[in-house]
């Protein structure tokens, strides 16, 4: 894991622990759940279904009688988009990959333009530009379900994770490394942090000597990775992920 990569087995163990831990950290109505791949070759994946995102394309249509019937709730325009998220193992890069796809309530898949509008403003700006080294959003096939989805491109993930993990290993973080990670974080992730926690504070909350000690390496890997990629697609990260003393942290794999 020092290379920033993770094996399929460690991924599964970490992801299962993560899903357990996540339950205790959030009030969200939808939860990450583990799905087996259904074959012996692929690792399974975590799935988070039906997360509503209010479309920013709302226009001013008004509520009115539904088909002229007074026993029906008056009709109102709907601007909700529903997103499915998936955390899968990317075997070629040996890293986790966050995939997502959106649809309208009637099931129509969202276009890339619609999807882009639903992203946090900071990601929208960097999603397609060359400035974003690891927040670049691209189209990828889900490694297990083979569905066409959007994802953060996995090719810088290992570099990023090795920087994070290097900090774990060092007693005092190397300044140069810290700077690199911070500049990434500030540019790409900061605006969507829940409760205004900065990335810096996350890093100070050192998994080894921090409050969330005693966790398995793979769970720390997943938590660290998630804390950085989730805000890019607008998923809230709970600070409790780092502070709660969940027994789940002791590895379900």
């Amino acid at each position: 894991m020092a290379s920033g990569m993770i094996s399929a087995q460690h991924f599964e163990a970490g992801a299962r622990s993560f899903a357990e831990l996540w339950k205790t950290c959030t009030d969200a109505q939808q939860l990450w759940t583990w799905h087996d791949s259904g074959n012996a070759l692929d690792a399974g994946y975590l799935q988070l279904d039906g997360v509503p995102v209010s479309s920013s394309a709302a226009s001013g249509a008004e509520a009115r009688l539904a088909g002229g019937e007074d026993e029906a709730v008056p009709w109102q325009p709907q601007y909700t988009h529903l997103y499915n998220y998936s955390i899968a193992f990317q075997p070629s890069y040996s890293v986790p990959i966050l995939l997502f796809s959106g649809r309208k309530l009637d099931g129509a898949p969202l276009s890339w333009e619609d999807t882009l509008r639903d992203l946090p403003a900071a990601s929208r700006a960097t999603a397609t530009s060359g400035d974003a080294r690891w927040t670049f959003i691209t189209q990828q096939e889900h490694p297990v379900t083979r569905a066409a989805m959007h994802s953060i491109h996995p090719c810088e993930t290992a570099t990023l994770m090795s920087l994070l993990l290097a900090q774990d290993a060092d007693a005092g973080p190397t300044t140069a490394r810290q700077d690199t990670v911070d500049s990434h974080l500030q540019r790409d992730a900061e605006p969507s942090w829940e409760g205004g926690h900065t990335a810096e504070r996350l890093l100070q909350c050192h998994p080894k000597h921090g409050v969330a000690g005693g966790r398995s390496d793979e769970l720390r890997y997943l938590c660290g990775w998630y804390s950085i990629v989730a805000p890019v697609v607008g998923l809230a990260v709970s600070f409790k992920l780092w502070t709660s003393r969940a027994e789940a942290g002791n590895g379900a794999g």
Binding site: E69, W75, D106, T128
Partner: protein, 713 residues
């Protein structure tokens, strides 16, 4: 408190892309032209989010004859009326009320007969009208979730959350019992369709139990409360969902009660939630059994479309199902990846919009076209006069054996066809004609054809942004070189010897007759006009096929050479297209944009500086050199005199040049130059020490091929 009119939240449909894909397959393989109603299965679960309602979903399994039971989902039977044309769809829409009448009649019969009480899924029987435009991946559809209006509306006495309505303890045990029912744990709910979406909750001293709807009559003699349970798709805090309506009518008819408690079970994190679930007390209309039998309820239930109107919806799935569109967006994304990793300022849209004209569809033409596709260029036109020969496919990557049969396909069209096979979204075309060449005299009969060809070439170069010269003779490059200079358009030249190649981008067209004293415009290297293919020549192009061995005439080169030169030609082209100065881009070694603004040079030159000319050879050790040469004032193809003459006289001037290439030498002053050179040679041999700067400095060889004035890098 007056009893409120109970308003229901409409059920909405969700159709997964997989359903349409499956319907397309079913239509092609099985249904074909049949428009008979097909049984289908819809799935829904109780609402699991306060933000949006649950919907009735059709997916890839909805068309299976025995749709499998799926955990947490209720299977609802439905009927699909898929018609063959848009007109038939419109006609079916007009008969909407008959369709609805028929479907609701069935539900009403099932209520009266008791079948619906045995199998509550029948209460929710739905209808789907559709037309699948499989060619354009557009799907027109309209759902009906038929409900039967009672003789008087249902009214609501009380409405509260389950927790408030039952008290925390009872609500918790009710939720637990319902969880057992919904999860299929309770043996009574287990069936092939999964848990029934409507059931009974019996609250007695002994505890809370869930039972099938059919046990109502048995429960009447017993103590305790009986509550109607329903898996509620609604998410509104003050309204139950649509599917309760027929269940309430069933209660009025079959149970004969005028008041009923209803628990609308909703979920949170897939478990019944006492805060979100509703407890209602509803008043029902009363009639005697006989009166119910003769009652004809009015149906309603067509789904509203996205604009809130009664009418069909349309789903355009081209972007996610049409393989052509999928290929297109995948290619775009790939190019964007290049932008991300290596060339952030790359303007991929500009490349995609560039129209390329390829003169010659041989080894070079094939190689160039394929690399252009790789760069995301979508518009490619081939010109070639030949047909595909048996020797071609092994060297020319766009042709196959079958293209050689029956005398051979015309190369240009066969190449365009191959590009369309490779990437269907490409706009490729092929034109079969030859390019008029100086030094290949025309008979009177041939002149009109040559004129038409020259004019066609002129208009083609006008329509395209870049012209590639990929022919196998030197003199066929003359006319397009001249036209490129006259139009000031980018011209890329690639030429092969047996084991050497030349890739060259022509400079901009001449801007006027003014010159420095030096015939080569070299004063400011960065501002100098770059030379064309003919700038090094001091003779007009002649028929080069006359004094050649067979090998040279067939232009057999080392097979790897075309790929190398073709690739370089495209890279030079794309580099120039991405250069802010375009056709005027200075040669790499003189390019201020590349050297001065270090650090930001990527932004200025996304693909870096672009060489003027690349010469390479495999024979002498695989060497490759970048060279630069200025435009020659007396060039027979790109000089001001030639361009002006063409602008003024057009075809007349071309014809003259074709018939007598020496006319070009006269025009450009080359004849004079030759004479001067001859005189000078004599002088030089007589006075060897004379270092006098002559007119001919650096241009003293009359050999057309040598051209050694190019500055080496």
């Amino acid at each position: 408190m007056a009893h409120q009119l109970l308003q229901f939240q409409q059920l909405q449909s969700t159709v997964d892309v997989a359903f349409w894909a499956e319907l397309g397959r079913l239509k092609l393989d099985t249904l074909r032209l049949s428009e008979d109603a097909q049984p289908i299965t819809g799935f829904y679960s109780a609402s699991n989010s306060s933000d949006y309602p649950a919907s009735l979903t059709l997916d890839g399994q909805s068309l299976e004859s025995q749709a499998p039971h799926r955990k947490g989902l209720h299977s609802i039977p439905g009927s699909l009326l898929n018609v063959n044309t848009f007109e038939r769809f419109k006609a079916a829409q007009e008969q909407a009320s008959q369709h609805l009448q028929k479907a609701s009649q069935q539900i009403w019969q099932d209520i009266l007969s008791g079948r619906a009480q045995e199998d509550p899924g029948r209460l929710l029987n739905f209808l789907l009208l559709s037309y699948a435009d499989l060619k354009h991946f557009r799907y027109y559809y309209w759902f009906a979730f038929p409900v039967l209006k009672p003789p008087e509306p249902f009214r609501c006495k009380t409405l509260a959350s389950l927790e408030e309505g039952l008290g925390a303890d009872l609500a918790a045990s009710t939720a637990q019992a319902c969880a057992g029912w919904l999860g299929g744990i309770s043996p009574a709910s287990a069936s092939e369709q999964g848990a029934a979406p409507v059931w009974l909750i019996r609250v007695a001293d002994t505890g809370v139990r869930c039972q099938p709807l059919s046990t109502w009559q048995e429960l009447q003699g017993l103590d305790g409360r009986v509550i109607l349970g329903i898996a509620d798709h609604g998410n509104l805090p003050g309204n139950p969902g649509w599917l309760l309506r027929n269940s309430l009518l069933l209660a009025a008819v079959r149970f004969g009660v005028t008041e009923l408690e209803v628990a609308c079970i909703r979920l949170r994190r897939a478990q019944p939630c006492v805060q979100r679930s509703l407890l209602l007390s509803v008043t029902l209309p009363h009639k005697s059994e006989g009166d119910w039998a003769s009652f004809m309820p009015t149906p309603t239930g067509w789904e509203l479309n996205a604009r809130g109107k009664l009418g069909p919806r349309m789903m355009n799935l081209g972007p996610s199902m049409d393989p052509r569109q999928l290929a297109e967006s995948a290619v775009d994304l790939n190019l964007k990846l290049m932008r991300w990793r290596a060339a952030p300022a790359l303007d991929t849209a500009r490349l995609a919009a560039t129209k390329c004209l390829l003169l010659g569809a041989g080894t070079l033409g094939c190689a160039v076209a394929r690399v252009l596709l790789g760069w995301g260029i979508r518009h490619i036109t081939f010109v070639d006069s030949g047909r595909v020969a048996y020797s071609n496919p092994v060297r020319q990557s766009l042709y196959e054996f079958k293209d050689c049969l029956e005398g051979g396909q015309p190369k240009a069209e066969a190449a365009a066809e191959a590009l369309r096979r490779i990437f269907p979204s490409v706009q490729a075309s092929g034109l079969q004609f030859s390019i008029p060449m100086p030094g290949h005299p025309l008979s009177d009969a041939e002149i009109p054809k040559a004129e038409a060809d020259a004019k066609q070439l002129d208009s083609l170069m006008e329509e395209h942004d870049v012209t590639f010269l990929l022919m196998d003779t030197r003199e066929s490059r003359w006319l397009p070189t001249l036209l490129g200079a006259a139009k000031n358009k980018l011209v890329i030249n690639a030429a092969l010897g047996f084991d050497s190649f030349l890739v060259l981008r022509h400079g901009a067209g001449p801007s006027g007759p003014h010159h420095s004293a030096n015939p080569r415009e070299k004063a400011d290297p960065a501002g100098m006009r770059l030379g064309c293919y003919f700038c090094n020549d001091v003779v007009a192009p002649l028929d080069s096929t006359v004094d050649r061995t067979l090998e040279q005439q067939c232009t057999v080169a080392r097979p790897g050479l075309a790929g190398i030169a073709g690739s370089l030609a495209v890279e030079v082209c794309c580099g120039a297209l991405q250069h802010p100065q375009g056709v005027r881009a200075p040669a790499a070694q003189h390019d201020a944009a590349a050297s001065s603004a270090t650090g930001h040079k990527d932004a200025v030159l996304p693909l870096g500086p672009v060489p003027h000319m690349i010469r390479g050879q495999l024979g002498g050790g695989f060497a490759q050199q970048c060279l630069v040469g200025s435009a020659f004032r007396q060039c027979t193809a790109c000089s001001w005199a030639v361009v002006e003459q063409y602008r003024q006289q057009g075809w007349k001037f071309i014809l003259e040049a074709l018939q007598d290439p020496h006319a070009l030498e006269d025009l450009t002053g080359l004849t004079e130059l030759h004479n001067a050179a001859a005189a000078l040679m004599m002088d030089a041999s007589e006075e060897e020490e004379d270092e006098n700067d002559s007119l001919l400095k650096g241009n003293d060889q009359t050999s057309a091929a040598a051209g050694d004035d190019w500055t080496e890098l």
